[in-house]
């Protein structure tokens, strides 16, 4: 294998970072919000989806390879990108320049939100060893409690909308950065389509928050105990 130069590595890392926002992180976000919206159908339906996920083979490996490692890489690259530019919407407040700035700010917000989100869900789940069928009641209790306070609701509403904006705008950025859409009309049309994708995902997330807030129903493990 030919030795890779520093310039080639720089280019490759940025390209992979752009792709990684879509696969696997964006795909995970869409699935995560979509599956969580099962809570609006009913607590049992939601519980079964958590049961399925927590009984997957090699779950820990899947989580590391497809969620945590890509998120860590995307975050580190994000910080690099954040500090490589100097935002200037004060002087040049064009809509696209605003979205450039918001993409970076929402990235920072989502990073902070994920530390909170993982700290209140995954970390206690692992700490108390709530695996397989024990995961669903444990996690649902946490969420029920969290959505009883306005601070909890607001944290999630900000976190979810930042993530969906970052994803929808990032999809557009990915298409331009990889040269999939080129002309001005194509770029405008694509931004409308991706805005709709973002709105649908935001709706799914907000509906789930609303359901948890209005109906905090505890459940017992589907199997065992």
């Amino acid at each position: 294998m030919a030795k890779i130069t520093q310039d080639q590595a720089h280019f490759l890392l940025l390209k992979i970072n752009s792709l990684m926002g879509l696969i696997p992180i964006g795909v995970f976000l869409a699935f995560h919000l979509g599956i969580n919206a099962l809570r609006t159908v009913g607590p049992l339906q939601y519980q079964l989806s958590i049961d399925l996920i927590n009984n997957l083979p090699f779950l820990f490996g899947i989580e590391i390879a497809f969620i945590y490692a890509p998120l860590l890489f995307h975050s580190m690259m994000g910080f690099y990108i954040y500090f490589s530019g100097k935002r200037n919407v004060g002087h040049y407040g064009y809509p696209r320049n605003w979205r450039y700035t918001l993409q970076r700010i929402t990235g920072l917000i989502v990073f902070a939100f994920l530390i909170y989100h993982l700290g209140t869900t995954v970390a206690p789940k692992i700490f108390y060893g709530k695996h397989q069928f024990l995961a669903a009641p444990f996690l649902m209790d946490i969420m029920n409690a969290e959505f009883q306070t306005w601070s909890g609701r607001i944290i999630y509403l900000i976190g979810i909308s930042s993530a969906t904006f970052h994803f929808a705008n990032g999809l557009w950025g990915f298409c331009v950065s990889w040269g999939i859409i080129i002309g001005q009309n194509a770029q405008r049309n694509a931004s409308i389509v991706f805005a709709m994708v973002g709105l649908v995902l935001t709706f799914l997330g907000f509906a789930t928050v609303l359901e948890f807030s209005l109906n905090p129903i505890p459940v017992t493990p589907t199997v065992g105990e």
Binding site: Q6, L14, K15, Y92, W172, V176, S177, G179, Q184
Partner: protein
């Protein structure tokens, strides 16, 4: 009755290493003035409201018809050419600053050498010399000629880079102007013979992947060059080259 005047507030700097400071000038109003003619008027008897005999304001200009790019400066907070900034059409007092992304030589004059180094780096030319007669080049389609004409209007003025949030004094970003020139010369039938060499130059640190798609460049371009189309097009060319290099080399 008091005479109608033009007021200017100018950010000044005596040499590349000294601290900038502001001075205010007031000159008699003349119809159809532009910012350059105001600066020329100040030069005749340079004096601020409370200080006589200050140094005349230094600026750069050449063509006076917005094709050379040398009089680019920040006028009322927005980057543009001083020659086409007509006093009757802009707000008063007129605030003049040198571009912030390039080293100041003196007052409003900056050193845009980084832009010209970028053009050299991306080989923004068509190679026509060889050790033997290369003969005539291939014919160019008129549609390509039309696209290239628009791109060729770039005057390396620096507006796109001044407006760009990704182009800073302490990084090595090449910027929209250079990427658009890669597209210009890769579109040329003879220039295309060296397309890969140009692409390689923008596939590194400071290259096309560093672009954050803020698209302020295309808004700031005084020549209405479709810079964002060029960026997306070079993104496509480099993406394809990346895939080709990974899969076929």
């Amino acid at each position: 009755m008091s005479q109608k005047t033009i007021k200017l507030k100018i950010k000044r700097q005596d040499n590349p290493r000294s601290k900038p400071y502001w001075q205010e000038f007031e000159i008699p109003y003349q119809p159809l003035s532009n910012v350059i003619s105001c600066l020329q008027d100040i030069q005749k008897s340079p004096a601020t409201a409370n200080e006589l005999g200050v140094n005349p304001v230094i600026w750069d200009c050449s063509c006076l018809e917005e094709v050379c790019g040398s009089c680019t400066m920040i006028i009322n907070g927005r980057v543009r050419q001083a020659c086409t900034a007509l006093v009757d059409q802009i707000e008063s007092p007129i605030v003049l600053e040198p571009m912030s992304k390039f080293p100041v030589v003196r007052d409003l004059m900056v050193d845009r050498n980084r832009m010209f180094r970028a053009l050299k780096k991306v080989k923004a030319w068509v190679d026509i010399d060889g050790s033997q007669d290369l003969g005539e080049g291939p014919i160019m389609a008129d549609s390509v000629r039309a696209t290239r004409y628009t791109l060729s209007e770039c005057m390396t003025c620096g507006c796109c880079l001044e407006a760009c949030p990704q182009y800073t004094k302490d990084n090595s970003f090449l910027g929209a102007a250079a990427f658009s020139q890669v597209r210009l010369f890769n579109l040329h039938p003879t220039g295309a013979m060296h397309a890969d060499e140009r692409l390689e130059e923008v596939m590194g640190k400071g290259g096309i992947a560093d672009c954050g798609n803020a698209q302020a460049c295309v808004e700031a371009c005084p020549k209405n060059i479709p810079l964002t189309d060029s960026i997306a097009d070079i993104s496509r060319q480099t993406s394809l080259k990346l895939l080709k290099d990974l899969l076929l080399k």
